[in-house]
């Protein structure tokens, strides 16, 4: 049994260790150490909780059993999950944090004595507000993340689902949550508490269904942020510093990532959240153009020839590479090119893939050294001095229309200046437009060679032809 003052200090220590864990991620060299800080912080928080409750009865045995069960499931998932499935894994994990927050809030509501929050039907006002906000945000995080998970996993179509009056409905539901929390504080009625949680589950679903697949980087970051705010809400209820600090850190981290992702698409956060992007648009227009304009297409042999005679190649990976699991074949190709003294670098657009940093992880998995991988602003000037750009699975992020046509939906979005390369190799399964539903001018340029195939298959063929 330790005093509550002492345990508060330990919780502070664990909060600081969590800050150091995030700080470590400023460079890959320090990141592993950072992760250990995070683990240490977690162990301290859990052990201190046991000690401060000081209850070593049979209950504790059960707690440890459940802890081990959850831990074993988590460890199993962590070791088995393929790196390409990282976005859905993170979405799934967010949903668990959200649900855990809801359950802790429910437990506190049903048994406020054990949390020192007053008695049933007479819970302290501040605590009641905090726990209902925590529960509401947690519920939104849970159901929203489930939808994001289903979309990323492909169980649910990635296409936006919209219906008329959607935004008004969301707004009304959002307002009703606040009104109900107000009445909850007046009446302490458990029925209202359950209603708040149910409506929040509904809001989570409604918030995410109108958002399309390629906006997922924003959605995941946003849900990341929500899970933090939910934890902070519960932290206030429990008067626990570690939870408050962590919740604030995670909340702001997710918010910053959402901001970075929105910037990278030149879209406002509001417009992403309102959703529906890419649902309709200029698809008909695209079909007409396709018939009119000639496209040069080639095979693996042509591609191998072009690259062999180049002195520098820039690789532009996108979501298609992840889908085709082409990263290992790609790395093999690059190894061969390097043997021929060709300089190879990778250019990554911030929203390539389905979550922030998605491409970097896949390339790291394929043993690509991280100092060969560059972000958009660091490499964009190099395209003009390079011989070949090898675009694999990316589309909208290379579209020059974003710089030239103010009417285009993606106008103003920062794009990779792929067209400035002497020649462009574009691996794609068909001429179909990307997520934004617009045609890519790059397909029709004279210096573009289209390679119509599955990304992995094509890369493997190129490897064979490089010998």
């Amino acid at each position: 049994m330790i005093s509550s003052n002492l345990s508060a200090i330990f919780y502070l220590v664990s909060g600081i260790l969590f800050i150091l864990a995030l700080r470590g991620l400023s460079s890959p060299d320090t990141s592993r150490q950072g992760n250990y800080f995070g683990i240490a912080g977690m162990i301290i928080a859990i052990v201190v909780t046991f000690l401060s409750i000081g209850n070593f009865s049979i209950s504790l045995t059960y707690v440890i059993i459940f802890l081990v069960i959850g831990g074993a499931i988590g460890a199993f998932i962590a070791f088995r999950i393929p790196m390409t499935a990282m976005p859905e894994l993170v979405a799934g994990f967010h949903s668990l944090v959200g649900l855990a927050a809801v359950f802790v809030a429910i437990a506190a509501f049903l048994n406020p004595e054990s949390f020192n929050l007053g008695n049933i039907g007479d819970i302290k006002l501040a605590s009641l507000i905090e726990m209902s906000i925590g529960a509401a945000v947690g519920a939104i995080t849970f159901s929203g993340s489930i939808i994001a998970f289903l979309k990323l996993r492909g169980i649910m179509s990635g296409a936006p689902i919209t219906f008329s009056g959607q935004h008004i409905l969301n707004l009304l539901l959002g307002i009703s949550i606040f009104v109900l929390i107000f009445y909850l504080c007046k009446t302490q009625s458990s029925n209202i508490f359950w209603t708040v949680i149910s409506i929040s589950f509904l809001v989570g679903v409604l918030l995410i269904i109108p958002i399309g697949g390629a906006d997922m980087p924003v959605v995941i970051s946003m849900l990341n942020s929500y899970s933090g705010w939910a934890a902070a809400g519960i932290g206030f209820t429990l008067e626990n510093t570690a939870l408050i600090i962590t919740g604030a850190l995670v909340g702001s981290s997710g918010a910053i990532l959402s901001y970075i992702m929105c910037n990278a698409m030149n879209r406002s956060f509001i417009s992403v959240i309102l959703g529906g992007f890419g649902a309709e648009g200029s698809v008909d227009d695209t079909k007409q153009k396709k018939d009119q304009k000639p496209v040069k297409s080639g095979n693996a042999e042509d591609a191998a020839f072009l690259m062999k005679n180049a002195s520098s190649v820039i690789i532009v990976p996108g979501y298609g590479m992840a889908v085709a699991q082409a990263q290992h074949a790609l790395r093999e190709m690059v190894d061969k090119l390097k043997k021929n003294d060709i300089k190879v670098t990778y250019a990554i657009h911030p929203v390539a893939g389905r979550m922030p940093g998605h491409m970097n992880v896949l390339l790291a998995e394929a043993n690509v050294p991280y100092d060969e991988v560059f972000e958009l602003e660091d490499i964009n000037n190099d395209f003009a001095n390079s011989d070949v750009a090898f675009v694999i699975g990316a589309n909208d992020v290379t579209n020059p229309v974003a710089k030239t046509d103010p009417k285009s939906p993606i106008f103003g979005m920062p794009v990779l200046d792929v067209e400035k390369c002497k020649s462009v190799l574009f691996v794609k399964r068909s001429l179909s437009p990307g997520y934004a539903g617009i045609d890519n001018e790059l397909f029709y340029k004279d210096n573009t060679l289209m390679l119509f195939a599955d990304a992995k298959k094509m890369t493997e063929d190129i490897v064979k032809n490089l010998d």
């Binding site: 990141s31 928080a45 429990l238």
Partner: protein, 103 residues
Amino acid sequence: MEIDPFIFRLSIFILSIFIGYYVVWSVTPSLHTPLMSVTNAISSVIIVGAIIAALAGVSESVFTISSIFGFIAIVLAAINIFGGFLVTQRMLQMYKKKKDKKK
């Protein structure tokens, strides 16, 4: 007049948001995916609340309605803690520098 302890917690909260803001901006973009998985793991410190709930109703019985919610929350949070830290570790192991290859 005495200051409400809530204000202290609010101060910690606001200051932590600022710390988070500056720390996260310094995270290199190539590590954004590990950032998400590690923030996910640390936000599962909510397990603290779950443990308190689970250890509550002792005198009568181990499993009350409230403690059952606590036990389920422990499982959920534990999945996240182990899963989150381990998968982050797995990812970070993969980030390697270029090895000096002599040609």
